[in-house]
Symmetry: C2
Subunit: 235 residues, 2 copies
């Protein structure tokens, strides 16, 4: 009994891609060759990008490597092709040679990195705009020279933090300014971590130091604000 949910997951995650490639659905033939954008990965992130592009009537080709996901999205009226964007022939069929922008919205980290490598090697003219799972993934994509990347839960986390500060009684402006400073500091920190990524001891030191810096940022700010207030009161 304990085995059955497991077998299901074995079926969908391991057997299907390995054993059924020959008899399963073949990759779709892509018929639109005039797309300015290729959206690779049509999950939560890719779908938002696709809807924005459709809103602005910008032609795009969406590729998704999960059959189930393709079928769901199609049921809701969006054109998306079943295909693995980390395979050269799929990219060629999707019109990568003529597109301008490549939106890398693949959820799986290894597939994302493989795809970025392939695009950089064979279609260096494409501007890669990438979704990253976390800091480590972001650093690997930076190394591959993607044009833009965003950590997938980063901005929602900042929004959640900002609203938490407001729920605790901070003014809206104070909360927004706190998040702005945190953001600047965090993005810098990502570049620092990129340099020392292979040295865990240094990473730990750097993280602890960054936390202290963040605290000091606000302490010195509070002090200088108070000093300004004192000066204003004294004058």
């Amino acid at each position: 009994m304990i085995v059955s949910p497991l077998l299901m997951s074995l079926h969908t995650t391991v057997i299907e891609p390995r054993l059924t490639r020959s008899q399963a659905r073949e990759f779709d033939r892509v018929d639109s060759q005039d797309s300015r954008v290729i959206v690779a990965g049509f999950g939560r992130v890719g779908q938002i990008v696709g809807r924005v592009l459709r809103m602005r009537r910008i032609p795009f080709t969406a590729l998704e490597s999960s059959v189930a996901q393709v079928d769901v999205v199609r049921r809701f009226g969006t054109k998306v092709y079943y295909g693995d964007a980390s395979r050269l022939e799929v990219l060629q069929a999707a019109g990568a040679a003529r597109a301008e922008v490549f939106v890398l919205a693949v959820e799986d980290v290894e597939a994302s990195v493989r795809t970025a490598e392939l695009v950089r090697r064979h279609f260096p003219h494409l501007k890669i705009m990438a979704r990253a799972r976390n800091r480590q993934h972001a650093i690997r994509l930076m190394d591959l020279g993607v044009r833009y990347l965003i950590r997938e839960t980063y901005l929602s986390s900042l929004d959640l933090a900002q609203h938490t500060l407001e729920a605790l009684g901070l003014t809206h402006n104070d909360a927004v300014e706190s998040i702005r400073r945190f953001d600047v500091h965090d993005r810098k920190q990502l570049h620092v971590q990129r340099e020392i990524r292979d040295d865990e001891q240094k990473l730990i030191q750097s993280t602890q130091q960054a936390a202290r810096e963040l605290e000091q940022l606000f302490e010195s700010d509070t002090e200088s604000t108070q000093a300004q207030q004192r000066r204003a009161e004294a004058s």
Copy 2:
């Protein structure tokens, strides 16, 4: 050979929580009872919130139900307790009765909903600020009356879409305005979908209609801008 990665995943996802509960590490005793905030779930999202709170020197208690995650985060110097926030005794020990804000940053959808229910029932004074995985999860949390929620990949997706528009040649202001309108429309759509969630046919119709509305939003805008320009040129 094909079985071995599977057995590993069986071990970590099924056997471990079921069989080792008795002999595994017991939940930590929480010693800080003066926290204004409880952060439940200390993964990618919870950690950002925790770092922002620490930056502003606001005391919080972080709970995480994965031992491995707790150990990693502690190695980097953050205080986080091993405990399952969907259990009443853990919430009591974490000082839920005296806290003000409950940040629900648990990644697993079912654990998140269970925790929200528990907090609403036993600690109705707590302001719940929640991370949602997707639209369906967001709707379930709305039904439970959480104070604030954000879909975890939503804002990064909007940022990715905005930068994609700019990479295609739209001006920064035009791209930002496109995203602003999309956002307003999408949040409205979420409330519409909440009303008809159990009727797939209606959901499909509503989604297709929403896509048409979005396109028309920009068409009529372009027309009215052109009309204004014509009037300006004629005058």
